[in-house]
């Protein structure tokens, strides 16, 4: 459904993103994982043409067999909302504080669909029910500040799915929320994606969250993909040293009987910090922080494939006993 090929984003003299290939099939859920400056948000926003004006984008973004790159804003407006919905990070900033909830959801429908007033209202109520908000009829008349962060994010999801999009892009949708609320919203996104066979492109810095939601994971570092594959393989059989290091550095919650032993135990660290834009090394961009860097890392690493569906770019990947045959 969504096929991104050789996507490059430049701002000024810096190439910020170079993604060779990303696919989201109908109903598929792809997690785009990376730290600040990895280019994950830029990649996601280039699909809907929501990049700053000075960004130069090249490559190909095919959606349902149509090229999205190079389309005018007017044409993209028809795609955004109607066929691709977007949910942003901070729900309190994405809603208009002066407008009642009902009107904000209705606006999303009216922009794309020609419905009577009663039909719009019926649809708004049904959408609020689908995102599991209690008492939708009275919610219509509320203002955003009267809702909790989790409720606000549900309203934004309702707006994003108002016109039955085939793809939903969610950029860190739960980062601003509490852990318990986060779990509810994540479950909701999975349910909606399953019920509607809606593709999901889920952008997050948190591998744990992405594992919970997505069937595939694409790990980004320094503007490029370092590892892509089915969730279980990327998390349990990670090959790229960056993915591996990220997993090891995550504190996680130990099993009930191991917690005592965890207190005070040092975490595995990744040395250094993410370089500023333009300061990444040549070749493998992670090599200045990698414990396993070898001489060849000054060259750009080739894409290697395991089992057809698991790709990574690393000269000296982690060795896994299950796959002796690395292509």
């Amino acid at each position: 459904m969504l096929e991104v090929r050789d996507l490059r984003v430049r701002i000024g003299r810096h190439q910020i993103v170079h993604v060779d290939s990303i696919d989201v099939p109908a109903g598929g859920r792809l997690g785009l994982v990376g730290e600040s400056g990895s280019g994950k948000t830029m990649t996601a926003m280039s699909i809907v043409g929501l990049l700053p004006d000075e960004a130069e984008v090249s490559g190909s973004i095919m959606f349902e067999g149509r090229e999205l790159l190079g389309r005018s804003d007017v044409e993209l407006t028809r795609v955004r909302g109607a066929e691709i919905g977007v949910v942003f990070q901070d729900p309190s900033r994405a809603l208009n504080p002066m407008m009642r909830i009902g009107r904000q959801v209705a606006e999303a429908i009216r922009l794309q669909m020609d419905l009577s007033r009663t039909d719009v209202r019926r649809r708004v109520v049904s959408l609020l029910e689908q995102v599991q908000l209690p008492d939708p009829a009275s919610l219509l008349r509320r203002y955003p500040h009267q809702l909790s962060g989790g409720q606000q994010q549900r309203v934004l999801i309702a707006i994003a799915i108002a016109c039955d999009p085939k793809l939903l892009i969610a950029d860190e949708p739960t980062t601003a929320l509490d852990v318990t609320v986060q779990e509810e919203i994540l479950r909701l996104l999975v349910t909606l994606s399953e019920e509607r066979s809606m593709g999901l492109l889920f952008v997050s810095h948190d591998l744990g969250v992405v594992r919970f939601v997505c069937d595939h994971i694409a790990v980004m570092y320094g503007g490029g993909l370092v590892e892509v594959g089915p969730t279980s393989k990327v998390v349990e059989l990670s090959r790229h040293r960056y993915t591996d290091a990220l997993l090891a550095a995550n504190p996680g919650i130990p099993a009930a009987d191991e917690i005592e032993a965890y207190v005070g135990r040092r975490l595995t660290v990744i040395r250094g910090s993410v370089p500023a834009l333009g300061n990444f090394p040549s070749g493998c961009r992670f090599r200045n922080r990698c414990e396993f860097a070898v001489e060849s890392c000054i060259e750009s690493p080739p894409v290697r494939t395991v089992d057809d569906d698991h790709r990574f770019r690393c000269w000296n990947p982690a060795v896994r006993s299950v796959d002796a045959s690395v292509g």
């Binding site: 130990p254 965890y262 207190v263 910090s273």
Partner: protein, 258 residues
């Protein structure tokens, strides 16, 4: 031996005293003892009062009812007779290292502030290099400004600055949540190291149960300004008694990688 920090029946609310309609209590009837050399995690949802509790405990906010004492003396007494000693012995590291440093102040000046304010002297470069070394930074950053440094470096400076006056208690309010995932582990390890080297009492606010389970032997769970559960971290996480704690642990486990 009495606890280092003793809080009993404490109530706190924001807003001016004597306002016509008093605000609701932010913290209600809260009792808590923090013994010297312990590690305490404070968890709970946003708005539950975690950060407020930390600020009340170290005397940055004044509670209205109940008792808050440090090292056997009432906080009010400390603030009246020897506020600087109270500040020197209780230091805080904040969530956003970038926002807790003045962007127009060099690291040298920023780092010198606590000693200048509390000891009324200007620390030497040699001293400051030593403080920086303790947090894994070099003296070459002294003339630099915050915008020239990464979030991880700035948080190390925040820790170095808090340690510069030799505190007994280090309060850390979400110390790694503003940092990149790959940098969080470095700062958490640093907190563990300085804690054991200096024999500090560590009180850490965090929404991340994974972080708390690594650093804190004890934990309290706050909900709507009330402690709903308290105990050893291992016991609370393994067998939560309160329904809210249980939902917190379940939700955190769902997205945990271990």
């Amino acid at each position: 031996m009495p606890a280092l920090v003793e809080i009993s029946g404490m109530h706190f609310r924001y807003g001016k005293a004597g306002g016509r309609v008093p605000a609701a209590w932010t913290l209600r009837d809260l009792s808590l003892d923090i013994s010297a050399d312990s590690t305490l995690g404070i968890v709970g949802e946003s708005g539950s009062g975690k950060s407020t509790l930390v600020r009340v405990a170290c005397g940055l906010l004044r509670h209205q009812e109940g008792r808050v004492a440090f090292d056997g003396r009432e906080i009010d007494d400390w603030l009246k007779s020897s506020p600087k000693d109270l500040r020197r012995r209780n230091q805080i590291v904040f969530q956003s290292p970038r926002r807790s440093l003045d962007p127009r102040m060099s690291i040298r000046r920023a780092l010198a502030q606590p000693v200048r304010a509390l000891e009324r002297r200007v620390p030497t470069d040699a001293e400051m290099v030593e403080w920086l070394a303790r947090v894994g930074l070099g003296g070459e950053i002294l003339p630099r400004f915050p915008h020239q440094l990464s979030g991880g470096q700035l948080q190390r400076i925040g820790i170095a600055r808090a340690l510069s006056v030799g505190p007994d208690v280090l309060y850390a309010d979400e110390p790694v949540s503003a940092l990149d995932v790959s940098v969080q582990a470095q700062v958490l390890n640093l907190l563990m190291d300085v804690r054991s080297q200096l024999g500090l009492t560590l009180v850490m606010v965090s929404h991340d149960l994974g972080v708390v389970s690594r650093l804190c032997e004890e934990v309290i769970v706050l909900q709507h300004g009330v402690i709903v559960e308290a105990g050893r971290t291992s016991e609370v996480l393994a067998d939560p008694q309160n329904p809210y704690t249980a939902s917190l642990v379940t939700a955190a486990r769902a997205v945990s990688l271990t």
